[in-house]
Homo-oligomer: 511 residues x 4
């Protein structure tokens, strides 16, 4: 943890004093950006990232990003400076209820009782963050603690992986052995176990079609693989209808199931057996039916593959590729995503916050490795722009691309400055429909009239804002200009925002 993300204040100065020369401090202009960048960095490195914030207002600004890190199960050590212990009983300015503030979305939230506890507490925070289910941990440090003498804690290694109960895996294998038509549903837990290999091997062994659950915080399967069937809907009715042909469903690294709108239905067709493997015991405990097993997904997939015979089923018919979209003006989202897919290098990493356009993005842009795709599992906005900064810092050798809506872009627009100051080449493609179009879709799905205020966001010149923050960019309105703009964005040596105006039609909400 030698890269520290942060936005400082007076209570953090003692922490930052004598900052080691081989450490890197990545400054953000707002705390939501700092925490989002750390989240991206942790997801890119697979290791807990450290972020330092400024007492209660600073931690407060970052709480939305913390909610997202929590749902993304991203390991983070979040610290904030607390007022000086020596007069905190008088509640001077910057005294914060820090532990209470972070608690609802931290695996552990603590303020050491003595300065001498600080080092061991930070080490503990690291291990707690890394244990499954991974997540953020918070440590509040009174500013005078950094001046106290204390001993370096001894080294301590903690295993950050657990294996599923072998007896439960045997029972799961039994279910799958008895199935005529098993399917697999993958979720972000596959990527968190950092390997597609075991899951691919298992799917190929039992010749099961594979769906990705619909939130797709991280990809769980190579999306170009012949067994990959696409994405599940986001409501009970749609999920159970999609899975209806199968008499057994193996859920790997996902809830049973991630839903969004309430559209009543069955969880699965009656009689379908469900086996869930998850890296979160609560996700197991709350599954509505079936058999749930807590453990590392890759270990579980490998153990299952060993217990299951090679299936003798015909190959699935190849998935039909969508036709090439028309190059009309104003551009359709399909056209833009198709162009993006064409422009992206093989090893691109996509940070996606295109919201209303996400379904279309997945139609064209395929992910084939566990760190190739990132979005928020919490459903809030403002994550992917700073996350792309962290991802790029974590994987400087890979192209990191941010695809984002115009509304979404404004929540953590401040992170563009950090990208610019650090010379991070991050193409940022804004799918600009001048509004919160996902909400219009949802509104229509709920049967609500268009009386709802606050869904239009006209009058923002994102390229100008980006330039004001030290980034570069251009606006595109005509289809013939898009390919060139994307090329320039991918070639740029710093952040480059392409503001793509698309038609403002409201897509049907896919549920």
């Amino acid at each position: 943890m030698t890269t520290i993300f942060g936005n400082p204040g007076s209570t953090e100065l003692t922490f930052l004093e004598d900052f080691p020369e081989d450490f890197r401090y990545v400054l953000a202009l707002q705390e939501a950006s700092a925490l989002g960048m750390a989240t991206g960095y942790a997801q890119g490195t697979g290791n807990a990232a450290l972020v330092n914030l400024h007492t209660a207002p600073g931690l407060g600004n970052a709480m939305g990003a913390l909610v997202t890190a929590w749902h993304n199960r991203t390991p983070l050590v979040v610290t904030a400076g607390q007022q000086d212990r020596r007069h905190i009983n008088l509640e001077p300015l910057l005294t914060g209820r820090l532990v209470e503030l972070a608690r609802p979305y931290a695996k552990r939230s603590y303020e050491p009782r003595r300065p001498q506890e600080v080092p061991s507490e930070i080490l503990r925070a690291y291990h707690t963050a890394m244990q499954p289910p991974r997540g953020p941990v918070f440590v509040s440090v009174p500013m005078d603690d950094w001046n106290a003498e204390c001993e370096t804690p001894p080294s301590h290694e903690v295993s950050h992986r657990v294996a599923p109960d072998p007896a439960a895996i045997e029972r799961a294998a039994e279910v799958l052995r008895g199935a005529h038509s098993p399917a697999i549903v993958v979720g972000p837990g596959v990527a968190r176990s950092r390997s597609f290999d075991e899951v691919v091997a298992l799917a190929e062994r039992i010749k099961a079609p594979v769906w990705q659950e619909g939130i797709v915080a991280l990809a769980g399967f190579p999306q170009g693989h012949p067994l990959f069937m696409g994405f599940l809907p986001l409501a009970q009715k749609g999920v159970s209808e999609t899975l209806a042909p199968h008499d057994a469903v193996l859920v790997l690294g996902s809830a049973v199931f991630p839903y969004y709108p309430y559209v009543p239905g069955e969880v699965v067709r009656e009689g379908t057996e469900v086996v869930q493997i998850t890296d979160d015991p609560e996700e197991a405990a709350r599954a509505p039916l079936g058999r749930s097993i807590f453990g590392d997904v890759a270990l579980a997939a490998a153990a299952l593959a060993e217990l299951l015979p090679e299936a003798d089923r015909p190959a699935l018919p190849a998935r039909e590729e969508p036709p090439e979209p028309e190059a009309a003006a104003p551009m359709s989202v399909d056209y833009v995503m198709w162009q993006i897919a064409r422009a992206l290098p093989e090893d691109a990493v996509v940070a996606d916050e295109s919201t209303s356009s996400k379904v279309v993005l997945h139609r064209y842009v395929k992910t084939n490795d566990p760190v190739g795709y990132h979005t928020s599992a919490a459903g809030g906005l403002g994550f992917c722009m700073p996350a792309s900064v962290g991802l790029k810092l974590a994987m400087p050798e890979r192209p990191v691309v941010c695809v984002i809506g115009d509304g979404s872009a404004m929540y953590s627009i401040q992170s563009l400055w950090t990208a610019a100051r650090n010379g991070l080449a991050i193409p940022t493609i804004v799918i600009n429909n001048r509004g919160y179009t996902i909400l219009k879709s949802y509104r229509n799905a709920l049967g609500i009239s268009d009386s709802v205020p606050g869904l239009d966001v006209p009058g923002i010149d994102l390229v100008q804002v980006a330039r004001g923050l030290g980034a570069d960019g251009e606006a595109v309105e005509r289809p013939e200009d898009l390919e060139g703009a994307l090329g320039r964005a991918l070639e740029a040596e710093g952040p480059y925002l392409v503001d793509v105006a698309v038609d403002t039609s409201v897509p049907k909400f896919a549920r």
Copy 2:
């Protein structure tokens, strides 16, 4: 509460459905801005404001602003949409730990147990927010609740003011009657009682010099009044030295005392009697000495004045006015503030987040009414830019001016768009020193070397950012251009950002 601030998401659509035509929805591009605008509005109207946020990530983004509202004791009713009750046990996307999230900085945080509770809970939230000590209240509303049938709750009036205990006031009067050289320290509680008259009458009656405590979230006394002595320092040593000549100190609407850095000393010189009147019982309970009374400050001041004889003390010598600052290039902060003071109309309302320049601002810019000056009592950044939006909406007839640092400006820059879209004439003066200069001052005061990273913020073109968000503006580098720019800002029909480059010298931290 017919003006609603917010940033919507799918869980809020049912709330916004059939939005009343005589209501106003003020859209913000990020939740920190939404809550900050509501805070400004509540401070401008003196009444609780309503703000609607989007489940956990949205409420999370606003938590820093909620911390500020809490410390400013601003009455707010904050609501957020929760997932649909009918499937929330499966924890679908957007399910939030909302009540827990808001609790540390809300007077009450609640999710109704039945849809039918929603109206009475919102009414209760209003009354709780308005009772002293005022503050924010949070209500989580499952999105399907708005579709349920329920009765309108009957009207309910609640007294939002309390009077001090007459017996305690009598004892306080006794202390003051016995004092030879009493002083008065005023804090934001004076402005919250909405009247300077009683405090001025009392000060004039006992002929006591009046200091404002050093945080100055709100002004507590007409700063042009002959009895006004200026601002207390922010550490024990300085405060007790300043008050040392007085054998009795009457603290009105303030803690005893608001501190910031830890510089040990006495609270007051030994033997000095302290009497505190405050609108916050906890502020009374934790005062380190003296006599503390909970109650409305204006009522208390009036009651005290009645019990005290007119004092027979010579008038204070007139405060020396600072000399006219030099018009050098780069400009000094003194020069800029002097020009601002000259430009401001009599009835201007200042939202101040100039941080390192705040002491200089107070040197020239005088406040003479309870709603004329606003800053954050929490010490975090990002409040004053959205607050100025709320203040302008609350007081369209008065000039509302935002004076802000360049670092500060970036925390809630999104609020410029709301100002622009609503045609709000808000001159926004950025005192631009390309860094977090307050931290450099503080660092020097702590004796920390300049090894601390993250204190410089170069490379932002704020005028360009403002234009990208639909506002107007200009940059000023030469002293001779400033007056004209300020004039244009004050004449503009929308938000107008003047980016004033000042010299980057690090002021001595005044403690």
Copy 3:
């Protein structure tokens, strides 16, 4: 606070070291008793009491009693010893989540961040406990803190009373001036303001009939006064029917209204004006209708009386006294209560936990001063037996009598030992019906069959248990033996338990 109640453990030894000779330590055998005794003591003295418990299990045992103290708004300073700061990061035995544990039912719950904070924190706890609404405050003290050097905090007086807003009182007076038939409802807030005089004077001035709300944690009016009408029912329907003849209701020191079973109805008849004065701002904020004013009840009553003209209404007809009950065997509860009423001295203080017999107790036993009657406002059991110990210690000169059910007696039976060891003359009358009869009444009211298990409690010989704990006592089965037994109990020099077998008929639940 020189009397300390407690049950010690190893983490409290440092606190108890060098215990001052002029302090009194009252040992309880279980923590629920310790806290209950402190509650009684605080209610008897009108001042906050101090209770010291043993880390998490000890505080845990007392949490039920803390819930009761909370609802009784009893000022308490509760402390518990925490593990030694020097190794608490390893979570040794007796490390407790003390602050979190107490928080839901403490006005403030805190663990000092340094040993030097302990004295000022305890002083703050005292003031917070005493401010309205009064209640318990918790302080966790790491055991090594008592060995640290620290300065004595300076003296600090805090006003513990607030006055109602004069403008609101004027509006309330207007309502009452316009009423043709006003009624008064009194609650425990009257007794907490420690004076019946102002309320009696007001009632007599406006010649309004006075009801006590139905929970009766404390009495609010002299029950022998000609204007006293008795007790309100405990459900909406009954309350609104009782108050239906009145066009205005003044509620003093009570919620609007305290309910228990859900029996839908109006709050008051439509058109009836309600004015509430309460010492709890939340009770004001949540009142379902009317005008609510937060402030001291006695001050408010006096202020109202000054604003209201003497009413010209005929005197109320005298309340009919219940006939002398029959002396049958098994005895009826009426008979027993009638005998108790006859036996009690004028100045007796009654601690009542007779639950199913409470309505009958009030039929015969009248309270005429603010500290003459005590029960739990929380509805749980186990309060009154230890509370009577605290009450007797607070008011050694007055007879303190505990009237309790047989089921109730078993929750804090341990307190009999403390009474015995301290030689406290506490007659304890058990109304023994061998079961949880209140639940049988409630069950019948809900229309539930008698299939419910766990409602009979046979086979306890309470006199033997009392003797085993060092108390004395006797059992009474025949009516002719009761008077003598009560006499012996009242004459005894220590605790004396009279176990009175009553008939086991199930009374109709009065709602």
Copy 4:
């Protein structure tokens, strides 16, 4: 879960309505007893037990017992009745902050948002309680929810065991392979994995001496086994000295290490390698050094044994048995424990709360199976008397014996009644030294004078109390009467309390 422990109130009547005939309701007279009995039952059956309490005061009374269940990692589903949803916004009597109250000591604490959630929430509570680390879960149920219609949730199996990471086990094996003199420390996690076999096999394979950590909530090794070395001390200094001869220590199912008093020292001698296997990830994360692995202890031990070669070390010398204690009057604790050990049948289950006498108990009374010994891991009192009731109900075929101090006996003395009413043969041996002798030992160890009040508990006649509660018993003062009394206790058909007066000498605190 067909046995339900509880103490009912009106908010639980709807839950208990139509109580199934094949269910068993075990009534307790106080909630601390109810929860303690459930804890014993869960520990006896190895399955989560269900306990139903009465809203906030009832849950509150049980919080101390909940703290103990938490530290004992006992799976419990705790429910309490909440007020009726239909008027809870008016906060009627018995409205509780139930979720907040239970939260600090529950793995999950929840109140369903709709009646229809109740069944699935209770199922989820069961699974959460059973997952490692096991522990209590709380569900608040509004009383009217039981009357709502809802569907039976489908069946859902959850694996309640996790395996250690194979890679981490391989690294642990490497450490042990390199050790010359490994030792094993066992803790309660061994018994929670419900098998001594794997641990014994491993110890025998590597010929390592085995210590039990000093808290001994549950036994971790057959105490008669030749490799068993006894019990570790309870402070850093003693533990590191005891383990100093070993270059590697394998900790199975324990913290590293459980401490009680603060006596500074090393954790282990420098250079000693520590490997920890634990069923609690937090216990792993906070270990101060070494390598920590989260996973089932029995699975880990078996995996390690497979990876390790059979060691070639000489057998340990046989442990010296203590000499037969002298039969003096007053009796020594040694004598009493020696007699108890002689009297106990081979398959006896001991519930121990002898506190100051615990070290002596372990000197004579050996446990040889995972459910043979139980005490509190939380350090509070009042657990073992109700726990013995639960243990007996769980294992009616085994003799369950309670060994307890006289002070300890008074915390949950109410449970004797439940034992008596249910005809449970529970010999209860009170080691009576008329005081809190453990505190006197601790006081002496801390060098505190005997000024501490509250350590003597004279004047209780426990046999009389027991008889009053329907149990039987006798007091023993002379050594020659003890054997007979113990025999009668073991032969009795119900609870039988033997009150054994021992000498009041204060043992040296063993640390």
